[in-house]
């Protein structure tokens, strides 16, 4: 293909968007609307995942030290714990700190009730372990139980199992939903683009009858597909970026709970924007080329 022909295809692709005015508008708005939906859900699901992760991060294993253990034995225990697989960090929690935490967790109103316990603290000193991956917590706990100088190991089995059941279901649902939405978006966008091209079936056939090769016909459609995708992505990109920055800056503190916050806007909106742009362009090109192909057999 000669250079001037490539230029011609580029111009033609651009002009075709204008020539097919209403149809181009329909395609572009389909891209816009669907990418907006995908973008919003991507942001939601990524934040949900972040939220779930930070909830899971709170899971810890408490290794209560036997009352009879000497300083020396405690030090050995710590070393043994460090040797275990999948242990991320170890912290020491004295029995007084432990009681403070317990009383705090009971809330204002029951506090005084238990203040009496301070004098005869029934708790043990403990090491607090975090697993490298929260889902490995049980494994870490089981290993820890094998060690010496231990009173008991506690990681709230029931609560943690329940928690992981919930977070895993939510995560799976989130991924399924976002993937489902992406495929829906791709299907509908290319469906719409196909419709606009079916309407141009006669034109494609005429071009072939006048001696155009398949490549010659396809090129402008290729350019047009890219442009539809890019133009259709502008608004979703602006909204995903601008909107998320706005929400993050204005509501992040209000929305955030003690244990969870929104993902920072900076890398996230760029990543999501790139995903949206990629979908837009890919589907634009794919939708237009696959449907042109059908009418090239003249």
């Amino acid at each position: 293909m000669k250079g001037r022909t490539l230029v011609r295809h580029g111009k033609e692709g651009l002009k075709n968007i204008g020539r097919n005015g209403w149809m181009s508008f329909a395609s572009i708005s389909a891209v816009t609307v669907m990418l907006m939906v995908v973008g919003v859900f991507l942001l939601l699901i990524l934040n949900l995942n972040h939220f779930l992760e930070s909830v899971e991060e709170d899971v810890e294993v408490r290794v209560y030290i036997d009352l009879t253990a000497t300083e020396q034995e405690q030090e050995e225990l710590r070393n043994d714990l460090e040797q275990l697989d999948h242990v991320e960090s170890i912290t020491y929690l004295s029995k007084d700190e432990g009681l403070d935490q317990l009383i705090d967790s009971l809330g204002e109103d029951n506090r005084e009730v238990f203040e009496s316990l301070r004098d005869e603290n029934p708790l043990n000193d403990a090491f607090i372990l975090r697993a490298t991956d929260p889902q490995l917590t049980e494994q870490v706990a089981l290993q820890a139980e094998e060690l010496n100088d231990i009173d008991r190991v506690d990681y709230g089995k029931q609560v943690v199992d329940q928690l992981f059941k919930v977070t895993n279901v939510m995560r799976t649902m989130g991924i399924v939903l976002v993937l489902g939405l992406m495929f829906t978006a791709m299907f509908l966008i290319s469906n719409t683009i196909k419709l606009t091209i079916v309407a141009r079936q006669k034109e494609i056939q005429i071009m072939k009858l006048v001696g155009a090769t398949n490549g010659f016909i396809r090129w402008p459609f290729f350019i047009e597909g890219i442009l539809l995708g890019v133009i259709g992505s502008i608004i979703p990109l602006a909204l995903v970026t601008g909107g998320y920055y706005y929400v993050y800056n204005n509501y992040a503190s209000r929305l955030s709970l003690d244990f969870a916050e929104l993902l920072p806007a900076s890398p996230l909106s760029l990543q999501v924007s790139l995903i949206l742009l990629a979908i837009g362009v890919f589907v634009g090109v794919w939708g237009s080329l696959t449907s042109v192909r059908k009418f090239l057999k003249v």
């Binding site: 001037r4 009858l209 006048v210």
Partner: protein
């Protein structure tokens, strides 16, 4: 030199209509051939075989010695570029201007822009539509559309010019002008094949006449006239 040769060509459309039966024909380079016959006889079908808009159901068609029924589909465009076609229903691209429609036939062979410009203006002058170069086909009268189709067919100096009733929507004076154009092109060596109902033209400009009736060639005369029995 034979430019077109059909051997035992038959065409049955997918709906069962038998449009052509056992057609044998030889057309030499540089000939001027009229194809006449009643409505629905198979003239357009005959013509569509040559530039491969339709494939025959059986038989072989040689253009310049090579069998186009066996042509790979990616080579078809190159065949069509050698053949200029005035379609019975014009087949103009509705969203392109008159100028762009004609230029299209030159763009596909990747001519440089200034040559495209020059050639298009030349043929627009021949068909007297220079003033309507920027119009869309829908903004033209029937006869004007037909003339655009003629202009597009001749713009790239094809070896073979096929015209399917090119004067059907034209007044007699314009028809004669179109005929003059076709004759000039023919004189320069282009083979011209023209389906027509215009008795006056066929009987005045005497050339080879092929008469098709019910899908068969019933007469083929070198300096024939417009006449056939039903």
């Amino acid at each position: 030199m034979r430019i077109i040769e059909m051997n035992n060509v038959s065409k049955t459309y997918s709906n069962g209509v038998n449009a052509l039966n056992n057609i044998d024909i030889l057309i030499e380079k540089g000939e001027f051939v009229y194809v006449v016959g009643p409505s629905g006889a198979g003239k357009s079908t005959f013509i569509k075989m040559i530039y491969r808009e339709e494939l025959p159901s059986s038989g072989s068609i040689h253009i310049q010695g090579s069998d186009i029924t066996k042509l790979k589909s990616k080579h078809v465009p190159y065949l069509r570029r050698k053949i200029g076609v005035v379609f019975q229903d014009f087949k103009l691209l509705p969203k392109l201007s008159v100028y762009e429609n004609i230029a299209f036939a030159l763009e596909v062979i990747e001519e440089p822009r200034h040559i495209i410009r020059k050639r298009v203006m030349e043929v627009l002058d021949i068909v007297k539509l220079k003033s309507k170069a920027r119009f869309l086909p829908d903004e033209l009268s029937g006869g004007e559309q037909q003339r655009v189709s003629i202009a597009r067919a001749i713009v790239n100096d094809p070896r073979v010019l096929i015209a399917d009733e090119p004067t059907g929507n034209l007044d007699p004076d314009t028809s004669w002008e179109v005929m003059e154009t076709l004759e000039t092109i023919n004189r320069s060596g282009t083979t011209v094949i023209m389906a027509t109902h215009n008795r006056e033209i066929v009987n005045t400009i005497k050339r080879r006449v092929i008469v098709i009736e019910s899908g068969r060639i019933v007469r083929d005369e070198l300096r024939g006239s417009y006449s056939y029995e039903r």
